[in-house]
Amino acid sequence: MPDFLLEIGTEEIPARMIDGAREEMRRRLIDLLVRERIAGQAIGYSDDPESPVLAFSTCRRIAVVAKGIRARQADITEHVLGPSTKVAYKDGVPTQAALSFAKKVGQDITQLQTAINEKGEYLGATVKKKGRPAAEILAESLPKEIAGIYWAKSMYWRGKSAERFVRPVRWLVSLLDGEVVPLEFAGIRAGHASEGHRILSPGSLSIDRPSDYSSALAKASVVVCTAEREQRIRKALDAATRTIPGARWREDKSLLDTVVNLTEFPSVVLANFDPEFLALADEVLVTVMRDHQKYFALEDASGKLLPHFLAVLNTDGDPDGLIRHGNERVLRARFNDARFFWETDQRIPLRQRVDMLKAVTFQKVLGSYFDKTMRVQKLGSLISEALRSAGSSVRPGVVFKAALLAKADLTTELVKEFTELQGIVGGLYAKAQQLDPILPAATAEAIGDAIYDQYKPESMDDSVPRSVEGAVLAIADKADSIAGMFALGLQPTGSKDPFALRRAANGIVKIIAEHKLPLPIAKLFSDARAEYADSEAERRFSKEIDFDEAIANFMRERLEFYLRDARGFAYDVVKAVLAAGCDDIVDAIARAEAVSEVRGSEDFASISVAFKRIKNILRQARETNKAVAEKLHESVLTEEAEKRLAAEIPAIAAQVRELRQQGNYGPALAQISRLRQPVDAFFDKVMVMVDDETVRANRLALLQTLLNEFSTIADFSEIVTESKSS
């Protein structure tokens, strides 16, 4: 059983695309081997070094090794169906159709069999198919697999009529044990020749056999296994950090993944910056180091930044200290720039910058950031008021001031240079600048914090704004964007969400949930939409879209996502709870919690079965035009069980209503569980769809009442029960 190797040698692939492409290539090879019946025994997707299909990558190569594949396909016997016998013979003489079928399968007409299936009788033949050699199959199929790899962005390099790939392909190694599998892609014929590290081991490198692959590359200064490179980098970071007493490097998985994919032979150098730069905000220092220079920051045990950094190199070391010196030089210039920007920015305080926002576009129809500021400020006030009247404590003055200054940092040099620091810079500047001498220090601090947190949460894992005022500002800002885009008809569709509106909406849900804000969604968005009234943008709003409905569906979807994925509620609980209302997020969560509590209980299993049944009966009645009485008439009740149920409902319903009002969903559900017995008895003893129209209409009314009264916490019919239900 031979081993197979494919290495695609390229110019530097973007770091962010490498892992995905490597895994895709592994999957493509496995699928191909299985499809073509040349896989070895235990083939699978595991990353275990013992796995029969291994995948490797660096910035200059993607490689896959399949151990122990079949050298050739096994021969197989196939049954081939030909023309129907009606067509094949005319008056007992074989027709042209029969002859050409015989020719096609390479048999004499007399050797052909007949096969009968449900459509009739056909000519047939048993054909032995000789298995093809693996090398032939691989050479033929792999170019298509290589060409099929998904890249977020690809390019031409040999002209428009040639292939596209992420970057130019420069060599191919394709071996079945010691033999070259003669495949061709991008005008390159595969062979033994690979390349080592560009600088440490320039020139061509011959790979003899697939089993030698990683060791041959190791000799040419390429650590081809991604996990091994990560391990090396981690160790080197640790070792360099140990030279500074009490220091640790700031763990940063995404940065680590990046440098792992930027290197073939990594090493680490420890370097320093002037401690005077520590006077700059941490956020600025770390952004420069991490996002712009791909350096790891060092901190002490308390998390305070230290004047050192770690650079990951793609070479074997820095004996003369030249590389360290160079990196220090670059960082010094960057920090100097940042400090220069910081100081320049202070010449124009944030207050004065608000007017400058007239020249910064938010969205070409929705206007400038100045327009947005004005809207968000008003919307923020409305939200503050709503929260206060619902009993939350919020300082409207803080929201008002913060909203006014929130976008002003977009005009600063520092944010123009480091865009990822938007909001953060505004917050820092607000605190550094004396906004208003009569403001108490605590208020100024609160304004700064709200501005600082306005873009939070940036993902489902990110934290929400720390203060209520920050929460209100963040909600107002996001709701304004969503409302504007929806009104323009630019809502997200499928995988397309260019304005990241889903993220914004997820953020609103998360903030409301975690701050437990009594803030109804429909009102929030109709207010946000109203802020566009009489604006130039409004004249270009879409006439086709039903704004309220679109928003309601969109936000319901986001809430569903939050409850399921972030909070881990069962999907049927989420459906049941949202069916009973999703305008009040905090309330929906409380209901979901209560319903989850009772979900497994016998009473509720029984109740949900009963509710499903009620819904079905009512639906049938609707579909067959059977009348439901306007209200329940006790005089028409005949059976004991229905009398009892009708008698129980008002008392329980009154209790449930009261408990629901107080948000006491646990006890409310306990009350509902008291219905189980009478309901079960009702269905045992009473037939609803009787012929007597009056009795039937009355019983339907009873069920309708039951459904209406007790579906306000959750639609129990959505709860999935064990299949023991009848």
Binding site: P202, H325, G326, F340, T361, G367
Partner: protein, 361 residues
């Protein structure tokens, strides 16, 4: 590809002194001249980047192979800092190389050029990090990297995919060296103004600041404070109108020529008319239209630096200039094609096309 190691061994200058600014330029010129590049002189109309010079913007269009290298002063009015910032300039110098089509060892050649300017690759850390280039104003974009040397971005390396809204075929590789950055790195100085431009006859180092500081200061003053906004708008309008008029005229000429194609020519008169049209098309000043377009782009940049362009205007003006650039690119390609069609096949064709022609017949 034993080339790089050998090249390192042979070319790492024994000299211990880092290159002066002008030695850096000379070395790069020599290196790329050795690789068959036409050495051009800087283009004499204001441009924001070497890419906008016709040696790049126009030459990458159409099928003709071409290699060129040139220094291009690149003016970005909004980047001016009155000479006060050690890392930022209103006008910086790029060394621009176009390789059309790119040779298979283009990256290796690039690395050799670094050796040629005295960088010992064994002692430094080089990375090619994803960085795709795009210019909405030029309707141009490409795929490539920023080349990082010890954490410093020293070159933009781009495989052009589209220019003037036209898909390129063949593809061109564009190397843009940031000369001030590289010189500051080589000379290990923290401020661009401290770069030694040349060592004078008395062994005195002539600094970058002596030559360029005044430029930076005065143009910052002009671009940020003095440029007459109203006149700049007027100039922009005039240049745009003239460029557009030329493009319209060319389109008309082209329309007439296209109509003529396919008509059966029998009279000598018509034949003369056709050949006249051909001459007219050939001598049509598309290149001048491009200069006018560049003028517009520069005026836009000045107005932008002056803060004279509002949100709504901004998008619109960019679209106007883009329309000119796209129009010029189209006309240029058409003109080249017309020239290729009319050129006598024997004299102008390369040995390769001749071979192709032979194998087809």
């Amino acid at each position: 590809m034993q080339g790089l190691r050998a090249y390192q061994e042979n070319h790492l200058a024994a000299s211990q002194n880092p290159l002066t600014f002008q030695q850096l330029v000379l070395r790069l010129q020599n290196f790329w001249a050795d690789h068959g590049c036409v050495l051009q002189q800087p283009y004499d109309v204001e441009v924001g980047a070497g890419t906008m010079a016709p040696e790049t913007f126009l030459r990458v269009l159409g099928p003709k192979p071409y290699r060129v290298g040139y220094v291009q002063p690149s003016r970005r009015p909004a980047d001016g800092r009155y000479g006060e910032n050690p890392n930022r300039l209103f006008k910086h110098l790029q060394f621009q190389v176009i390789l059309k089509p790119p040779p298979v060892n283009v990256q290796e050649l690039y690395l050799e050029s670094l050796v040629a300017i005295g960088i010992d690759l064994r002692k430094h850390d080089i990375k090619f990090e994803e960085d795709n280039w795009e210019s909405p104003t030029l309707g141009a974009w490409g795929i490539g990297w920023q080349v990082m040397l010890d954490g410093l971005e020293i070159t933009q390396f781009t495989y052009f995919q589209q220019c003037g809204g036209i898909d390129l075929d063949p593809i061109s590789a564009e190397l843009t060296y940031g000369l001030e950055r590289i010189a500051a790195f080589l000379q290990d100085v923290d401020s661009i103004y401290d770069i030694t431009w040349v060592v004078g006859p008395d062994d005195r180092a002539v600094k970058y600041g002596e030559i360029r500081l005044q430029d930076e200061l005065q143009f910052s003053v002009y671009n940020f404070e003095r440029a007459d906004v109203e006149k700049a708008w007027k100039h922009l309008g005039l240049y745009e109108a003239e460029c557009q008029a030329l493009l319209d005229e060319y389109a008309e000429l082209r329309g007439a020529a296209d109509k003529a194609v396919g008509e059966i020519i029998d009279s000598g008169e018509e034949r003369t008319a056709k050949s006249e049209r051909r001459v007219e098309r050939r001598r049509f000043p598309v290149l001048a239209a491009f200069d006018l377009c560049l003028k517009c782009s520069h005026l836009f940049n000045i107005l932008d630096a002056r803060g004279a362009i509002s949100v709504t205007e901004r998008v619109g003006v960019i679209a106007r200039i883009r329309a000119l650039a796209v129009g010029v690119a189209k006309a240029y390609v058409d003109q080249q094609k017309a020239e290729g069609d009319s050129a006598p096949t024997k004299e102008n064709s390369s040995p390769q096309t001749e071979r192709l022609a032979a194998s087809r017949s």
